[in-house]
């Protein structure tokens, strides 16, 4: 462990064969390619970083406005603007070499073949530790959520990526489904090593003076503290449904927020929108973890994973079933 902060508390975890020095991972699309933080944040503090979504080719993304604030949340339709996987391998990966952190690449595609092809190109690249499959982006017209909302297509994409890589494969689940446990199981059966849960929730904000959506694209993906109770619920449902690890995502901005996900069963978490709010968020969370470990006399932070006690029923006599 390379830094004093991270070394101060027993935080290392292994997720799907990935060794992370701590359970904190920067979420896709909210951390650029990682290299933007030079001088602002030492990437070696993080358990891992996820790249923004990468297709075969570069993309312009959506028009502006692309981001609007909603109550305690952020609604975005970036549309996966990005450099394309080859430019990423050529220009970005070498710049991540100096950092002691896991590099996870967020893989996108308009077709099953494109997901596989992007993954194949990464397979030859050094420095990539795992592949996260983005089957849940709400802001594109093809691919994205269309895959993550259909169990059969989900299985196909995960299977196709699985076949072309030896690295851990981590599908990222969409919250815009009725039964996230079903999708968790489908991914596990198709060969996933872990799950990321959740991507943004589909939303719409209207400019009532102009009677148009506030985002140029129309609808967008909701993230940030507003969605945390939804995300914790879904992470809990997914973690109960499968044996593979679930990485919790959604509205994390403090150690307590991260611990909610860990307690419901996630060995690791991703921090998204909070990166925009505060580049110091990782140091704050790590300090909070250390305090929690000390306060609760834990040998290792991961002792809390899955420790949620679901209540019996309540009611004025606290007799079982009166909660119904």
């Amino acid at each position: 462990m390379s830094t004093a902060l991270a070394g101060a508390a027993p935080l290392a975890v292994e997720v799907a064969g990935l060794r992370l020095k701590n359970p904190l991972i920067a979420a896709s699309g909210t951390f650029g390619y990682g290299v933007e933080y030079e001088g602002i944040l030492d990437l070696s503090l993080l358990g891992g970083v996820v790249s923004k979504g990468l297709y075969l080719e570069a993309r312009d993304g959506c028009g502006v406005p692309r981001i609007v604030e909603t109550p305690a949340g952020l609604l975005n339709a970036i549309g996966l603007q990005g450099v394309g996987v080859r430019a990423y391998v050529r220009d970005v990966l070498p710049r991540l070499l100096p950092f002691d952190t896991a590099v996870i690449v967020n893989v996108c595609g308009d077709t099953v073949e494109e997901y596989a092809e992007v993954t194949r190109i990464l397979e030859d690249a050094p420095r990539v530790d795992a592949v996260e499959i983005n089957i849940s982006c709400p802001n594109v017209k093809k691919g994205g959520m269309a895959f993550g909302g259909d169990p059969r297509l989900t299985a196909e994409v995960v299977g196709a990526v699985r076949r072309v890589t030896h690295r851990p494969v981590i599908p990222k689940l969409s919250p815009n489904v009725a039964d996230i446990a079903l999708f968790a199981r489908v991914c596990a059966e198709a060969g996933a090593d872990a799950l990321s849960c959740i991507n943004t929730v589909l939303g719409l904000a209207v400019d009532v003076e102009r009677r148009r959506p506030r985002l140029a694209f129309g609808t967008g993906g909701l993230s940030g503290p507003a969605i945390r109770p939804i995300a914790v619920r879904m992470a809990w449902q997914a973690a109960r449904a499968v044996k593979i690890p679930v990485i919790g995502i959604g509205g994390i901005a403090s150690a307590e927020d991260a611990l909610e996900f860990m307690i419901v069963g996630c060995p690791a978490v991703q921090v998204g929108t909070a990166n925009f709010v505060d580049p110091g968020v990782y140091e704050r969370i790590l300090a909070g973890f250390a305090a929690y470990v000390a306060r609760h006399g834990l040998g290792h932070l991961s002792e809390v994973v899955g420790s949620l006690q679901m209540p019996g029923a309540g009611g004025p006599e606290a007799t079982p079933e009166s909660g119904g």
Partner: protein, 284 residues
């Protein structure tokens, strides 16, 4: 290099109306901040409003390790800053973005400010005067109450032409009118450089003024910003260099906020002035 810090408020000066000056301690911004650069700043840790807000660096004091913002209170983010008491801290990342580029020797800098767009020109004037260059300021607003930063320019010996939409102070009309009048009357009209910060329509008008007279113009754009460091991709603006066959989205936070007015694809135009000129050359 930008640094993220909790910065204590060390000075607060209310001005008229919704305006005020706030001074914070932040060694890196104080030492390295240049005119046109900005900080991302937020008072408190409430998730509402969620994000930091961009504000131009108006002044720096390297010795005291402080910088100053000129703030117009317009919504929850600016209000939370305005409500800070001395000694309370804000979360602040900076200095960010690309600053204005000083003019070549012998070129007269003409600064065009609209409303809170005055902020970077205060620092820019200080920088220029320190290098022995005397800029000239054209300062417009809706009414007299929007022209809150005037005396520092008098102190620096920077000539100021005021204008207001409602005629309550200075020229009655657009800020570009006295600008054009000055250029047209100047014996040195070809040796001027334009710098503009303010509402988009004003920036666009300044770009046209420059274009018509063959003057370079640097404009500081003001898009909605989520992060300030190129990761949220929320602040993109369509930019097209002369050699680029189509516009590309560029981050105003890292490649701007200051752009060459000729490279900007202005609203409703579809192509940049630079590209249009190149096409005309090629076509010709």
């Amino acid at each position: 290099m930008a640094r993220n810090r909790d910065v204590p408020l060390v000075g607060k000066e209310p001005l008229e109306g919704a305006y005020l000056l706030l001074t914070f301690r932040h060694p890196e911004v104080a030492r390295e901040g240049r005119a046109g650069q900005f900080v991302m700043i937020k008072a408190g840790t409430s998730p509402e409003p969620l994000l930091r807000r961009p504000f131009s660096i108006m002044d720096v004091d390297a010795r005291r390790e402080t910088f100053t913002l000129f703030l117009k209170t317009v919504g929850p983010g600016s209000r939370a800053l305005a409500d800070l008491r001395p000694g309370e801290t804000a979360a602040c990342l900076g200095p960010l973005g690309r600053p204005f580029t000083a003019p070549s020797p012998g070129v007269e800098p003409l600064l065009v400010a609209g409303g809170y767009g005055i902020a970077p020109f205060h620092l820019f004037s200080l920088e220029l005067v320190a290098r022995g260059v005397r800029p000239r300021l054209f300062y417009g607003g809706r009414g007299a109450g929007d022209l809150q930063v005037r005396s520092p320019f008098a102190t620096m010996g920077v000539p100021v032409a005021l204008s207001t939409d409602d005629g309550t102070l200075g020229h009655h009309g657009r800020v570009t009118e006295p600008l054009e009048a000055y250029i047209d009357a100047s014996p040195n009209a070809a040796r001027c450089a334009l710098y503009a910060c303010g509402p988009e329509a004003m920036l666009h008008a300044v770009a046209r003024v420059g274009e018509r007279r063959g003057l370079r113009a640097q404009v500081s754009l003001d898009p909605w910003m989520g992060c300030g460091i190129g990761t949220c991709l929320g602040c993109v603006v369509p930019i097209q260099g002369a050699e680029e066959s189509r516009p590309r989205f560029r981050c105003a936070c890292t490649e701007g906020p200051v752009f060459d007015a000729r490279d900007v694809v202005w609203r409703g135009e579809g192509v940049s002035l630079a590209r249009r000129a190149r096409q005309a050359e090629v076509g010709a």
